[in-house]
């Protein structure tokens, strides 16, 4: 039998401790910056669904606009956001949506007018769709289609329908049918949940 020595174990421990400390150090230096980046990109998403995206995308300016336009509220245990105009008037509700798409979870935001009959904008916060195909849902040309589409709040299932259906509001992405359908289903499921559960509470508010 081979003689047992502690050397390999010690060696491994030393190397591990060394690299862990190096990484911890780098992490500590950059963590603030990373969090700011994430916060900035989140805030930009909220401004985007409200169509209030500024020219000047510096952190300070975006943060200020976010404070003016967006307010977080909680209705029946669900996180929701209110959108305000420059004059401080309530113009929209921003509903977080999520669900399973082709390659993994997709999260996004939908902003609705205060009478729940119009979609003001949509944005996708995270997804794992195929670059060049499904990931094209991130393109302006797809997302911009959602601005101003009318939905029937009393509808039970099909809030969003793709063309060429006569009632279609939006064009799906050709070559990415799976992702397009997933977006539609996630949108419809989340809207159904929102309309049936949260809307009433908001209206009585």
């Amino acid at each position: 039998m081979k003689k047992f020595t502690l050397k390999p174990i010690l060696f491994m421990v030393v190397v591990t401790v060394f690299y862990t400390s190096v990484l911890a150090g780098i992490n500590a230096i950059t963590i603030e910056r990373i969090e700011l980046n994430e916060q900035l990109s989140d805030q930009l998403s909220f401004l985007y669904v409200l169509d209030k995206l500024p020219e000047d995308k510096s952190a300070g300016n975006v943060n200020e606009l976010y404070e003016t336009h967006v307010k977080e509220i909680e209705i029946k245990g669900r996180r929701l956001f209110e959108g305000y105009s420059e004059e401080g008037e309530l113009i929209a509700y921003i509903v977080p949506i999520s669900g399973g798409a082709v390659w993994g979870e997709l999260r996004g935001l939908v902003s609705l007018s205060t009478d729940f009959e119009e979609v003001l904008g949509i944005e996708f916060l995270s997804h794992n769709e195929t670059p060049g195909l499904g990931a094209r849902i991130d393109e302006e040309s797809f997302k911009e289609q959602f601005r101003g589409i009318e939905i029937d709040p009393d509808e039970s299932e099909e809030f969003l329908v793709y063309r060429p259906d006569p009632d279609g509001q939006v064009d799906a992405i050709s070559g990415a049918t799976g992702t397009s359908n997933a977006v539609r289903d996630i949108f419809n499921n989340n809207m159904q949940e929102f309309m049936s559960e949260t809307r009433e509470a908001l209206e009585n508010d």
Binding site: K7, P8, F11, M12, V15, T16, Y19, V22, L23, I26, N27, T30, R33, I34, N37, E38, S41, N128, T130, P131, G132, L133, G175
Partner: protein, 209 residues
Amino acid sequence: MIRKIKNIFSLGVFKDNPVTRQILGICSALAVTNLLINSLVMGIGLIFVASFSSLTVSIIRKFTPKHIRMMVQTLIISAYVIIVDIVLKAYWPAMSEALGPYVGLIITNCIIMGRCEVFAQNNPPLTSFIDGIASGVGYSAVLLFIAFFRELLGFGSLFGINILGEDWTNWVFMIMPPGAFFMLGILIWIANTYIPDKDGNIPASGGAK
């Protein structure tokens, strides 16, 4: 020394190119090559990780117990990959998002482990460092070559700038993974036909006699 460096580069980039000759790192070569900018950043990331991993492995090669060297190499490689990941997240969040999981997957890129094991384990630090860079450059060159054609044919653009104009119909096949597969196949074919290997033979000149 200059000649030695030249030789290392000619091996890493052409004669013993990690992708076309050693058929290593194929996974990411297929995955991130649909846009030139993604390939470029991935290549730079790999050059960084490959060179510093090789350097470190080479420095500690005389103290590393032989039978745990793989474990040590993996640890070193992952540490450098995490550094790349953190730096991208902090200073270039858009790119970090575009490359997604592939930065993390540099850890399993066989090129780096291969160079550590084959070269850095038996060579002095500086040479190993240069060898890491050379292999990384060889990998990046292949990625950029594939990405050039895939982006041009699939999106009609280069580095995001439209080249082929509005009339060009995007060749969707090129954006999808099979597009990379065919491009890579063609590239290996060209390389094996025109570039001699380290013994000076043309690999594809063999065949039936």
